[in-house]
């Protein structure tokens, strides 16, 4: 009986060690999974920042369009689409309602409200529209601009 009890005790002891080892393995697996997820998200975020610039779009079609003309090269400066024209400033473009962005390989295309490619980053563009201050630009897109999205802001008209 005593021997049985000892054997029974040993068996319980062995089971506890196995359970502890099993827990360690489970914790290790969970830690690895979390690490993979974190790395994956981080890599994905970096990729998004590099490939897909910030693309502010007007929340509706305004009743009227401003009539200035902005000409220059469309560039992706630090994740913001700007036009480098003749002047010293490189305005951040607030795109017309319905416009979107398409990343295709190494090219970033601006797509109009009909789904057609208008121009790519690097193209020389001519945009009708006008300049507005921060508050009015934010009113046009219906949300706050990112803190690092420095002006001036050019409100673009559809082509």
């Amino acid at each position: 009986m005593k021997q049985n009890s000892t054997q029974y005790g040993c068996s319980i002891f062995t089971s506890r060690i196995k359970i502890k080892q099993l827990r360690k393995i489970i914790y290790l697996v969970i830690a690895v999974v979390i690490l993979i997820l974190i790395c994956g998200c981080s890599a994905s975020h970096t990729s998004t920042t590099q490939k897909t610039p910030y693309f502010p779009v007007q929340k509706e079609i305004p009743s009227e369009y401003m009539l200035a003309l902005l000409s220059g090269k469309l560039v992706n400066e630090g994740g913001f689409l700007r036009v480098n024209g003749d002047g010293n400033s490189s305005p951040l473009i607030i795109w017309p309602y319905g416009y979107s962005l398409e990343v295709s390989g190494d090219q970033i295309w601006v797509i109009d409200e009909k789904g057609q490619r208008l121009f790519a980053v690097g193209d020389t563009v001519k945009l009708g529209g006008g300049f507005l201050g921060t508050a009015d630009a934010e009113a046009r897109i219906g949300q706050a601009l990112p803190p690092d999205a420095a002006g001036p802001y050019f409100i673009a008209n559809p082509q």
Partner: protein, 126 residues
């Protein structure tokens, strides 16, 4: 000193020999403009108290309708272009281009006397 207005894409100009404040411009008047993008177009005044979208929502803009069938009465690049009446014998300055409706069929301009509020003056023949 006399200001000149370019009125055609070949560079032709008219002398400005008079100017008309907003109070003397009326609904129904036929008026003309020149612009960098759409060049010469003309239309009919439909309002002298037009209100634009903020931040330009003062009821002082003059609105002109496209009654002569242009595909676009104004477009990007036309901002600041001259509005006038008259012809080669000398024209009357009316204002400068402001905005266009989203269908490009109605355009608005600032009357020339509002430029004077910003210390800018249209110079006419003596």
């Amino acid at each position: 000193m006399t200001n000149k207005i370019q009125w055609w894409s070949d560079g032709s100009t008219f002398d400005v020999n008079s100017k008309k404040p907003r109070s003397e411009q009326h609904v129904g008047d036929i008026v003309s403009k020149y612009g960098y993008n759409t060049f010469y177009t003309a239309g009919q005044i439909t309002s002298t108290t037009h209100v634009s979208d903020p931040p330009y929502n003062a009821a002082t803009w003059i609105e002109v309708a496209n009654v002569f069938g242009y595909s676009r009465i104004a477009d990007g690049g036309d901002s600041g272009g001259p509005w006038f009446t008259g012809n080669g014998s000398g024209v009357t300055a009316l204002g400068i281009t402001h905005m266009v409706s989203s269908d490009r069929q109605n355009v608005s301009y600032m009357a020339e006397d509002y430029l004077e509020l910003m210390s800018m003056y249209v110079m006419t023949s003596p």
